[in-house]
């Protein structure tokens, strides 16, 4: 199970990084969201995997590690705030600049053809 879990984290990281490297804002937002899933899972796993051991006192004889859970809980909410902020920035940039490129236009030859303004 541990191996499968790690593969999931790895796949999420890979997908997130790939999306972050795109040139348009929406895929980047998706990538950030994906990456925050990966990071949350990663941090959560630092308390090791345990089944049927929720940290409710008296509910089970053994308990999972509560500390990473508490950290990840706030991380999820903060991650949402960050995603929201980047989304709003993307909208603002689109409204002010007329396009959704994340590069200053003409600065880099990575874009094969210039995006037509809508």
């Amino acid at each position: 199970m541990e191996l499968l879990y790690s593969i999931c984290v790895g796949v999420l990281v890979a997908c997130g990084v790939f999306l972050i490297l795109r040139a348009r804002s929406f895929p980047i937002v998706l990538g950030l969201t994906m990456l925050s899933y990966a990071v949350n899972l990663f941090l959560f796993a630092s308390g090791r995997l345990s089944i049927n051991q929720a940290v409710i006192l008296g509910a089970s004889p053994q308990h999972a590690d509560p500390l990473p859970q508490a950290l990840v809980l706030t991380a999820i909410v903060i991650g949402f705030a960050m995603t929201a902020f980047s989304v709003i920035l993307a909208i603002r940039a689109r409204a002010d600049l007329g396009n959704d490129f994340v590069n200053v236009q003409g600065s880099n030859s990575t874009v094969k053809k210039a995006g037509s303004k809508k």
Binding site: C8, A14, L21, L30, I51, P66, I76, A81, I88
Partner: protein, 934 residues
């Protein structure tokens, strides 16, 4: 009286002066004078102890772990400087009242002056070298403000900037040097450092430390080759120049050398660096001063030359030389301040400082002329004045120097040459300005200055006289204690006398006076010679160097920062990849000792769904709607994973955040372009894929390595104390609201700030609203489906009830403020979706900004509540109560804290989504089209 009152009083003085703009000039001056005079009185109150050889202290501990404290120390040297700073400072404040014209703000000048005074006092009184450095930088900044006082003049601004650049750069070198010293000694306390001289000198870092500290001192004291900023600083009002360039700013560098003398001096390197720099500065300043037509320019170069003289004395390897240096610090401060002030009078009453126009002033202002002539004679070293005594000592000490081996005779010879030039420019100051024919078209009809404007000069000139004639009565004691602070051992026996008999120093003085007069009378030839030299403008070179630096750094920056986010991201990711990946190769074995869990059906299905969802998001990332659906599959699977692996709180949070995130992204889709064209080349895709896979492999491997190894956690503490200490059985929630409540407080504050930031970014947003969807279809006519509207309304109270339930049980069972807040937010958002924001606005006016503020305040006040009971911030309290109908219930103060969390989460989430959603409703023209996506 405690020492800290001295800088504290001047700080207060600075604040008060800045508030006196509406008062009359006399009142402003009188009020401002209170602080330095009071501070001076405190200083003098301590005088008997200081003369007794005691060192006084006053200390506040600040960050003890970092060895940082606010700490003051008064010894002989500090006492001498404090006297100069406060005494001359008071005279300058008095003088400035008459100098400044009515249209210039007196209170502004005073506020800056007092700030500067505070900084200077901070330097001389500090017992902590980091504190000393802080004040050092404060002098750079406040002198910048003072020099650019007339900020409408370009030369004032440029001069101020130059002074700041040079002294600021030196300040950075000084900081590095002080930190090295702190490292060697293991303490930043001056006492410890001064006592560890041998340790420092034997350290392998000694050379670097010495050079760095001397760089700080030399830039501040305008030593060659950093001297060029000082003449340009003359754009300041004359009282400022008189203060900065006689007793304070430039003397800070000298003070630094004297202060660290016990710790750093005594080595060959010190003597060579300090004495040769001093000698070069002495000669250069004395020579150039003669050719300056501007009175202040002459004084500026003369100041440079005298600073060089003091530096040279500090670099001579005899103890008496150090005594002479301190003596000359006092003397130079008195005569140079009075000369600057006299120049200010001349400038004030004639409208010019050009010596080619100023002639024969004796007839118009005999009184000022007399004062200036006495001061200038002191500068030249005429007997019976103080300058003579220290110059005589200087000549005598140069004779003893063995620094240059067999060529040591050069030092006294060059000193005599510099002395001759110093006599020559002093003679020019006297003769050219006060005699030498008639004035040539002056802007103003010259006349004597106001009576009180001359008072400060009279005081200082009187000092020149008294010290010059009765040195043993006036300065002997002061000199003793100050020298003792510098030399630390017993001061050498010295006797200052006007008459030592016919000896070599007297001959040197004689030669200097004779030579000086000769140079002055034959100056015509020298001026011609000087004019034939190619002009070397330090300012032009400085500007050029600065321009070059700017262009160079801009080029370098552009190499990295070319405006491509993709490029920055890739650089950062590569860096992380190497930093995180490299240690993996050194690891012996990836898998750890833990026995792995078996893979069951649920896990296998969940995992495949998650991976499929993630891959599908990437594959269809240009089809935005599909990508959005796919990523929501991933999010759901993540929350399922949390459920599976014993984290019900996380699962609930993830699930509710997921709903809110998807709503947000749907809204975003509406505002962003509907199509993502394919634009990355295949090579680029390949490159990105390889980087992404590498990241996945590295992070996945690290994750695997971690989770297969045994866990050594601090969590046992939380599990054991959750019930007894925090009063709850849901340990995760107890950690959030109790054990780590401070973290949570920070988190909700961040959340609130993010929401407010979003609100601000969306203000005045120019809108792009598509009339159709991506395939060119019109938006649905039925904006708000009846079914949804009806169900959502019935659902609202139920949802609120659920969130109340989740909130209340949070302390003992999965739930809590975060989750309840998100559920409430989701319920309200559903109303927005079903009815549109206008419908909501008609029924409910909520200011979400206020809600966020209220939420954070609740948490904060709940945390501070524990202070009332004399417990640390955020201590929680709980007990059990019998509540009718409900039964025995536990109530914890943490519940109030959790309420703050809840309110903040609701406010922030609603703020984010409602501000975005509202945009679609606000455009009246496009309202019909826009509503569809609401």
């Amino acid at each position: 009286m405690a020492l800290f009152w001295i800088p504290l009083l001047t700080t207060l003085g600075s604040l008060i002066s800045s508030l006196t703009a509406k008062l009359s000039r006399n009142q402003t001056a009188a009020i401002t004078l209170l602080a330095p005079i009071a501070a001076l009185a405190i200083c003098l109150y301590h005088a008997p102890a200081v003369f007794n050889g005691d060192i006084l202290y006053s200390q506040f501990n600040w960050l003890e772990q970092l060895n940082l404290s606010i700490s003051f120390r008064l010894d002989g040297l500090a006492f001498l400087f404090a006297l100069l700073i406060l005494g001359i400072g008071s005279l300058i404040i008095f003088y400035a009242r008459y100098y400044l014209s009515d249209k210039d703000s007196l209170s502004k000048l005073y506020a800056y002056l007092m700030l500067f005074m505070t900084a200077m006092l901070g330097i001389v009184l500090s017992n902590n070298v980091i504190q000393l450095w802080f004040c050092w930088e404060l002098t750079s900044i406040s002198s910048f403000l003072l020099i650019s006082y007339w900020n409408d003049k370009a030369e004032a601004r440029k001069g101020a900037l130059m002074a700041l650049t040079v002294t600021g750069a030196g300040g950075l070198a000084l900081l590095a040097g002080l930190m090295l010293i702190g490292n060697i000694v293991g303490s930043y306390q001056l006492d410890d450092i001064l006592a560890s001289g041998e340790l420092i000198k034997q350290s392998q870092w000694y050379e670097v430390t010495l050079v760095l500290i001397l760089l700080g001192a030399f830039t501040k004291s305008a030593q060659f080759p950093f001297h060029f900023w000082l003449p340009h600083a003359m754009a300041a009002p004359t009282p400022v120049s008189a203060y900065l360039h006689s007793a304070t700013m430039v003397k800070a560098g000298i003070f630094l050398m004297a202060r660290f003398y016990p710790a750093l001096a005594g080595t060959e390197m010190w003597f060579l660096l300090v004495s040769l720099t001093g000698l070069a500065t002495l000669l250069l300043g004395a020579y150039v001063a003669l050719f300056k037509h501007d009175l202040k320019g002459l004084l500026a170069y003369s100041t440079i030359s005298h600073l060089g003289l003091i530096t040279l004395l500090l670099g001579l390897d005899t103890e008496l030389a150090t005594v002479a240096a301190i003596f000359h610090i006092i003397n130079h401060a008195t005569f140079k301040a009075s000369l600057f002030m006299a120049t200010g009078i001349i400038d004030h009453e004639t409208g010019t400082r050009d010596m080619r126009k100023l002639n024969g002033m004796w007839r118009y202002m005999p009184y000022t002329a007399t004062l200036a002539m006495v001061a200038a004679s002191a500068m030249a070293g005429v007997p019976l004045l103080n300058g003579f005594l220290s110059k005589e000592m200087f000549f005598a000490e140069t004779l003893h120097s063995q620094l240059l081996g067999s060529m040591s005779w050069l030092i006294p010879v060059l000193a005599t040459v510099a002395g001759a030039f110093s006599v020559a420019y002093s003679a020019r100051f006297i003769h050219d300005v006060f005699f030498n024919g008639d004035p040539i078209d002056l802007p103003k009809q010259p006349h004597e200055a106001p009576r009180y404007m001359r008072v400060p000069i009279e005081v200082l000139v009187a000092l020149c006289f008294v010290v010059g004639m009765f040195p043993n009565y006036i300065v002997d004691g002061l000199l003793q204690v100050a020298s003792m602070a510098v030399l630390t051992e017993a001061t050498p026996v010295f006797e200052i006398a006007i008459w030592h008999g016919f000896n070599l120093p007297l001959l040197m003085s004689g030669v200097a006076v004779g030579g000086g007069i000769l140079i002055y009378t034959q100056r015509k030839y020298l001026f011609q010679f000087q004019a034939s030299l190619p002009s070397l403008s330090a300012k032009a070179m400085f500007d050029q160097a600065l321009d070059y630096l700017f262009i160079w750094s801009q080029k370098r920056i552009k190499q990295f920062e070319n405006g491509s986010l993709q490029r920055y991201t890739i650089l950062l990711i590569m860096l992380v990849l190497f930093a995180a990946g490299a240690p993996l190769f050194e690891m012996h074995q990836l898998v750890g000792q833990n026995t792995p869990h078996n893979i069951d059906m649920f896990n296998a299905v969940g995992t495949s769904l998650l991976i499929a969802g993630a891959l599908a998001t990437v594959i269809w990332h240009r089809h935005r709607m599909i990508a959005l659906l796919m990523i929501s599959v991933v999010g759901l699977m993540v929350s399922v994973a949390f459920t599976r692996f014993s984290a019900p709180d996380l699962a609930l949070t993830q699930l509710s955040v997921e709903v809110v995130t998807i709503v947000l992204l749907m809204l975003a889709l509406f505002f962003l372009p509907q199509h993502t064209p394919k634009e990355s080349s295949s090579i680029r895709v390949l490159r990105d894929l390889s980087i992404a896979s590498a990241c996945g492999v590295v992070i996945g491997s690290i994750c695997y390595a971690i989770i297969t190894r045994p866990l050594d956690s601090i969590s046992q503490f939380f599990i054991e104390n959750a019930k007894t200490g925090g009063g709850g059985t849901n340990v995760v929630n107890v950690i959030l609201v109790d054990f780590r409540g401070f973290d949570t407080l920070g988190e909700i504050t961040v959340l609130g700030i993010a929401a407010l930031g979003i609100y601000k970014v969306l203000v005045n947003l120019p809108l792009f609203m598509p009339a159709t969807d991506g395939e060119g279809r019109k938006w649905a006519k039925e904006k708000y489906p009846l079914l949804l509207a009806t169900i959502s309304q019935t659902l609202l109270p139920l949802a609120l009830l659920v969130s109340a339930f989740i909130f209340l049980r949070g302390h003992n069972l999965p739930g809590g403020g975060f989750i309840a807040g998100l559920i409430t937010a989701t319920a309200i958002i559903l109303q927005y979706i079903a009815h549109g924001s206008n419908w909501i606005a008609e029924r409910l006016t909520i200011n979400y900004r206020k809600i966020i503020a209220i939420g954070v305040m609740i948490a904060l006040i709940c945390g501070m509540g524990s202070l009332v009971f004399a417990r640390p911030f955020l201590t929680s309290w709980f007990d059990y109560f019998d509540i009718p109908l409900v039964g025995k219930t536990e109530l914890a103060s943490a519940l109030i804290f959790d309420l703050g969390v809840y309110v903040t989460v609701v406010g922030s989430t609603m703020m984010i989504l409602a501000s975005l959603g509202k945009l679609t409703a606000n455009e009246p023209n496009k309202q019909e089209k826009a509503r569809g996506a609401d």
